[in-house]
Symmetry: C2
Subunit: 353 residues, 2 copies
């Protein structure tokens, strides 16, 4: 069987390298196509790999002497530490040494390292960061997740940038997240097609008239987690603020609940009875269960796992990377992108705003 | 005692006129300074007023033959119905017939009617819509609410517009929401002062150097309900999307919880025991409990109650309007605004971006 070479930044994240390697080991047990390339300090990672009992023909180690921590400034850190694991990992990908990359390290440093080392797809100016949300199922066949992009790489976007987000999200949804015919929505302040500033109004028209898209129109903030669209397209500034707001309220809801419950004896009995249910609720709201979010726009797929990721989240992230590589997500996106640009040139329409 | 004339749009909202009048009646019982001016169809509202037993020296009725419904387009509706209650109410305010206005009608129609009829404060180009969120208390003395503005009236803003939002929010917080020395935050994608696009970077610097503001820096989406700032300044597009996202997830969290609980017998026993607690939680998350959100920037205060408001929310909204008028919020905002513009001209700084 053909193997997918997944490059693992073994030193990135709050619980690296232990949980990163444990998670990868679980993924390797679950999928035969994974070949792991651990990037990091050999003396630290080798003993963990042996402890986990990973077969010697399923992995290799590429040495990287340094690590970038979560609180370092991305640019300074990448410049001053050429041998940091994320620098070594992205160069490895650039030179053909891997099919996909998984990192739980600093988001800023990961995106910047990718931008510097990994070639972008033709027609793409910068990487795109996506977020995967749990979503309500409107129908039994719905995937139960929504992908929103961009959530922070490009603060303000042109019409054609927003269209490329739709293309990327659509293919990622199809090939990796089991979406049949992904419904594309445009994040806006109202459903009417005249809502929002001129870039949004024009993007709405472009998405509507292009037959490649299953466009469901504008989507409001309240609809993000309702499962009314599978792919939500937005500018990075808004996407980032919304993503963090949703994370914040989910955490706050839990805390508030706990505080109130603590004050009441009957509640304590009640909560004991409810604990399996609460765990399920937490799981559904906990986005780290999704494994990781793709960074798109490069010629290799990068999965960004949350910095707090433990083994389970890493396992899911590695499985996503494996699946993405196996299903050729990147070549499929590139083909669609080419088609989009060809149409644009043939129709003589500028599409840039 | 001096009376505050509160103009009530008796016909606006899903539960008008019954719940509007009931709520106003409760407010009148609670505050001696309220004098209510009900605007609407006399034959519909007079019997309810009598049923509620409002003293004849505490109210009057101003006739308005028409009503604008929630799903009508604001501009068309206001143009075709000159005698709609919101048109009559805003003209009444304009002509000095009231100190403040409360409406639970269509937000778009309310803002547009205000813009057309009520004079704006000097230096203000458009009305500003604020939202009041419940917030966690960091300290016992914290107000437990946060005011975010703008949430939809001005999609993209200049630096000086954002500064005027800070001025308005600060005074409203002090005089109406019991905030001692309101902490001002700027909604952004990170804490560092260099984050965000150029308008945000410049606004950050202006807020920081102006000694009138208790500026706490940039605030991220996750902090909105954490009570780290009392007044959160943002552009209308982002504010609107975030507001709706938070409303959406709060509703979805409840629904998800209910669905999961329904599936489990032990849970049903647990939930019965928890029901007083759940009610409290719901109350804390239910923003309509806050009564209403101010529309600022006009020379009279307007309180926009939620369209779904029942008597309790209306009562709270009328009490807010009464308090705002009594504490002279509008003149205080105008004085600060004048000071800001005087400083700007004296320092020869443009401040406009």
């Amino acid at each position: 069987m053909e193997q997918n070479k997944i490059v693992i930044d073994a030193m990135g994240g709050d619980h690296a390298p232990l949980e990163i390697i444990k998670g990868t080991a679980s993924a390797i047990k679950e999928s035969e196509s994974i070949y792991a390339i651990f990037v990091g300090r050999q003396e630290e990672i080798q003993p963990i790999i042996e402890e986990e009992g990973i077969d010697s023909d399923r992995y290799e180690i590429v040495a990287a002497a340094d690590t970038i921590t979560m609180d370092e400034k991305p640019k300074e850190a990448l410049d001053s530490k050429p041998d940091a694991s994320i620098n070594v990992a992205t160069r490895l990908i650039r030179d053909g040494g891997g099919d996909a990359l998984v990192s739980a390290g600093s988001t800023g440093a990961t995106i910047l390292a990718c931008s510097r080392e990994i070639p972008r797809m033709p027609g793409i100016e910068r990487g795109v960061l996506a977020a995967i949300f749990p979503a309500m199922k409107q129908q039994r066949s719905d995937p139960g997740v929504t992908i929103m992009l961009d959530v922070g790489a490009t603060l303000h976007c042109s019409v054609s940038q927003l269209i490329t987000f739709a293309i990327m999200g659509m293919h990622y949804g199809k090939e990796v997240l089991d979406m049949q015919n992904p419904r594309i929505g445009l994040l806006n302040i109202g459903e009417e097609e005249t809502k929002g500033h001129s870039v949004l109004v024009e993007t709405h028209q472009e998405l509507k008239k292009d037959k490649h898209f299953n466009f469901v129109g504008n989507v409001e903030g309240k609809d993000i987690m309702r499962g009314v669209a599978d792919v939500i397209v937005t500018e990075g500034y808004t996407g980032n603020v919304v993503l963090k707001s949703l994370e914040g309220i989910a955490e706050m809801g839990m805390e508030t609940g706990k505080q109130i419950w603590k004050k009441n004896v009957m509640s304590k009995v009640g909560i004991a009875m409810l604990s399996p249910v609460l765990k399920k609720l937490k799981k559904r709201l906990d986005y780290s269960e999704q494994g990781g979010a793709p960074i798109l726009g490069f010629r290799k797929l990068v999965i960004k796992a949350h910095g707090r990721s433990k083994a389970k989240a890493i396992k899911n992230a590695v499985l996503l990377a494996d699946r993405s590589a196996g299903n050729n997500v990147v070549p499929k996106i590139e083909a669609s992108m080419k088609e989009y640009y060809m149409d644009m040139f043939e129709n003589g329409s500028e599409k840039e705003s």
